[in-house]
């Protein structure tokens, strides 16, 4: 079996007396979609915040391709190839698609224009933005200069996912990417998720939507009360069983390993 692209061992995070994570292990392999499900307060958000650098665990280790890493902030996680698409999308609505793709990663002109006058290489960024979007199958995007706020929810989500995919070298974390979307738009985002998997990225998908999870996930990591209730696959268990495990009505002995 290949090495996990991202793994966590014994993550603990407490908030005063409240236990967010009580020693959580997680493995994510390249080219798989690992869904994380769990009831409210089960520690889903805390877990992905620890993996994306938005939070530092009290103890436990995070490993990228087997090497231990410490993320002090989201920039550290980005540098390690882990991109996160937040539930709030984290796009600037008034800026255009290209500007949003390169937000906080702007490229400057070569030469004196870039070094002394700090001039942005808008042309190159637009070209690359178009390339990234084409690669993701969002072809014939007529206007890369279109403001993000003029896009539909699904299209905005596509921009956020495209940004993560364009720069996420290894892992893309998606927090409730379909929560605010209609059926059609949800389909578009799930298609993007599959495309990313095909490109060999490891994907963590946090979702409340069981049909979505069972449609797209390779494995399902179930959080319960700050710990791991089990790891299942859509083949090994039914959605009803997953919910039962999630709520504690059923327990799972053996975590399921990916069969790839």
């Amino acid at each position: 079996m290949t090495e996990p692209v991202l793994s966590a061992r014994g993550l603990v995070k407490t908030f005063g007396h409240v236990v967010g994570l009580s020693g959580v292990d997680l493995d994510l392999y390249a080219g798989e979609v690992l869904a994380i499900i769990g009831d409210n307060g089960a520690g889903k958000s805390t877990l992905i915040k620890c993996l994306s650098g938005a939070m530092t665990p009290d103890s436990g280790t995070v490993l990228v391709e087997g090497r231990e890493v410490v993320f002090r902030n989201t920039q550290d996680a980005r540098a390690a190839g882990i991109e996160t698409v937040y539930q709030t999308l984290a796009v600037a609505p008034a800026l255009d698609i290209a500007s949003n793709l390169f937000l906080a990663r702007e490229q400057r002109r070569p030469g004196v224009l870039g070094t002394v006058f700090r001039m942005l290489d808008t042309g190159a960024m637009r070209k690359q933005a178009k390339q990234h979007i084409d690669e993701l199958g969002i072809t014939t995007l007529q206007n890369i200069n279109q403001a993000v706020e003029t896009l539909s929810g699904g299209q905005r989500q596509a921009v956020a996912v495209a940004r993560a995919a364009a720069f996420g070298g290894k892992v893309v974390i998606l927090d409730e990417p379909t929560a605010a979307l209609g059926v059609r738009e949800t389909g578009q985002v799930l298609k993007l998720v599959r495309d990313l998997r095909t490109r060999g990225l490891g994907i963590i998908l946090i979702s409340h939507n069981m049909p979505n999870v069972f449609e797209v996930a390779d494995r399902i990591h179930i959080q319960r009360l700050g710990g791991v209730a089990g790891v299942i696959t859509p083949q090994s268990h039914t959605p009803a069983e997953a919910v039962a495990i999630m709520t504690g009505a059923m327990t799972l002995e053996q975590p399921v390993r990916p069969d790839r």
């Binding site: 989201t74 980005r78 008034a94 800026l95 937000l103 702007e106 006058f117 003029t150 299209q155």
Partner: protein, 341 residues
Amino acid sequence: MAQTLEQPGAAEQIRKARVTPSRALHNILHRLPALSPLVVLILAAVAFGLANGRFYRPENLSIVLQQAAVVGSLAVGQTLIILTAGIDLSIGAVMVLASLIMAKLVSSHTVPGPVALLIGIVGALIAGTLNGFLVTRVKLPPFIVTLGTLSIFTAVTLIYAQGQTISLPAGTFITWTGATLSFGAFHLTIGVVLMLLLYVVFAYALRQTAWGRHLYATGNDAEASRLAGIRTNRVLISAYVVAGGVVGIAAWILVGRINGADPNAGINANLESITAVVIGGTSLFGGRGAVVGSLIGALIVQVFDNGLALAGVDPNYQVLAVGILVIAAVAADQWIRSVKS
């Protein structure tokens, strides 16, 4: 869920998005926020020219520019703050304080002009930094912070001035901004040229540098920008500090314009700078607008002032007209922000 697989992808969705006339206008106004104020300025200029042909005389247009120089410069700093979704009510008070520092150092302490200028600008930078610190570190709303510092800086100015007005001779370094540059029949001052330079520099910085883009993004949605990896606090404080520097230059222009310093000279400059920015199409909600709009806004105010006077209309109508323009500009901004697909 199998059906969702056959749904058209995001690409088709985007291709299908129709461009209605209202959407087209929205897109244009979005890309060129200074367009509507420019139309207002042109219409006003045409109307006042028809009312009185003297309006178009180069001498008269020169006066309009000269009158716009101080508020126009101040509006550059105000634009930076408003783009971050903030507001600076203290900006005029800081300018008066800085102008007083410059004038007083030269007149009563016989400090060389360039040194006095530098100390005045440093004073304005410190004031801007204080505002920025209170907004970003103490996490107070910009409105409250600058309402407070408005009183503080005004009081410091009055205490420092001790009721005096300072007059300085024209033709010295510190009053150099009042010196006239003639281009044919046009008589610009160094102050006007400095103001225009400020606009060139900041139009470039806002459009062509990452700093400018981050300023827009932070004003547009601070939390999203932070999650995207922008150090938003750093961006915010930089806006206040840089605005302080701009205010320092505005103070120099003020000293040249009135040949000295008067603690009561810039009493309305706070609100006038906000008026110019708002009429210029920059959104009070942040993240939208263009700095050149503020120049147009400042010019519109002066054009109304000048044009109505030449047309023999009661100058109070200028105040009325500016009020209507402010409301119209904010209404237009609401529309621009509200149109969604």
